[in-house]
């Protein structure tokens, strides 16, 4: 085989493996970083929840595609961790920063 015949599949495999390696490493992972202790506002969190989370968890967090969040006893830090990392089919990073802190405060409140 000539160099030109080998080059495209070789490049395909190299770039694919590089992407895979980078994804395994994920060097800028926010989940691995220390969680920022930002105080959340549950009232703003309710608004964030309705916009971003109610599609799966239901308008009143009683469940839908995603589980009910009422009475499950989550702490704000746990909620922030789940929001940052994702869980099951829930994607990571649906909301971030202050919005994540706000929604964590709201969800922690209703989950008690």
């Amino acid at each position: 085989m000539t160099k030109r015949q080998v080059a495209p599949p070789l490049l395909l495999v190299t770039v694919t493996l590089t992407t895979f390696g980078l994804a395994k490493w994920h060097p800028f992972s926010s989940a691995a970083a220390p969680a920022a202790s930002v105080a959340g506002d549950p009232l703003r969190g309710r608004q964030v929840f309705v916009v971003n989370c109610s599609g799966c968890h239901g308008m009143d967090a009683t469940g839908g595609i995603g589980p009910s969040l009422r009475g499950v006893g989550l702490e704000p830090a746990e909620v922030e961790q789940i929001v940052a990392s994702g869980r099951g089919v829930m994607p990571a990073g649906v909301v971030e920063g202050q919005e994540a802190a706000d929604v964590a405060a709201y969800v922690a409140g209703i989950s008690q």
């Binding site: 495999v13 770039v15 694919t16 992407t19 980078l22 989370c53 869980r87 089919v89 909301v95 971030e96």
Partner: protein, 157 residues
């Protein structure tokens, strides 16, 4: 080894336009997917197919093909950065597994296609197969991410 946490900076930038990071990624991916359709149509025209569907001169189709491809790649870069360097490889279910596997291939197939275009020393079928594969990978990525987000989380900016 963690190089840094850039999530808040990333969010600050994309949230100047979109309501959240994930909404930004869903819309950027949708833009890329739409341009992928343009790519398939113009490529078909350049290969002598779909002349009635795409009634463009060859040179125009070629120019549109090149520019839509460039813009599509640019649109995927912020999505790639967030997905690959911040979220990383996860396989919690079939949807996410299909997404991360397809995502690993997308730039590999693109690089191989660009190389085949440059060298012009391959069998006639190689370029359309690579182009079709790239479109299929992009479609898989969009179906397993943006479409899922729009239908299960919310449809909006």
């Amino acid at each position: 080894m963690l190089l840094g946490d850039v999530s808040s900076t990333y969010s600050d930038i994309v949230e100047t336009v979109f309501s959240s990071t994930i909404a930004a990624k869903a819309w950027l991916a949708t833009g890329a997917a739409a341009l992928a359709i343009v790519q398939v149509l113009t490529a078909s025209r350049m290969w002598g197919k779909l002349r009635r569907v795409v009634p463009l001169p060859f040179a125009t189709a070629k120019r549109i093909h090149r520019w839509s491809g460039r813009i599509a790649v640019l649109l995927t870069l912020p999505v790639f950065f967030h997905c690959v360097t911040m979220l990383g490889w996860k396989t919690p279910d079939a949807r996410v597994t299909a997404h991360v596997v397809a995502g690993s291939f997308v730039y590999g197939v693109l690089a191989a296609k660009l190389l085949v275009i440059r060298w012009k020393a391959y069998p006639h079928w190689v370029l359309p197969v690579l182009g079709g594969s790239l479109a299929a990978v992009l479609a898989t990525l969009w179906l397993t991410s943006a479409l899922w987000y729009f239908t299960n989380v919310r449809f909006g900016f």
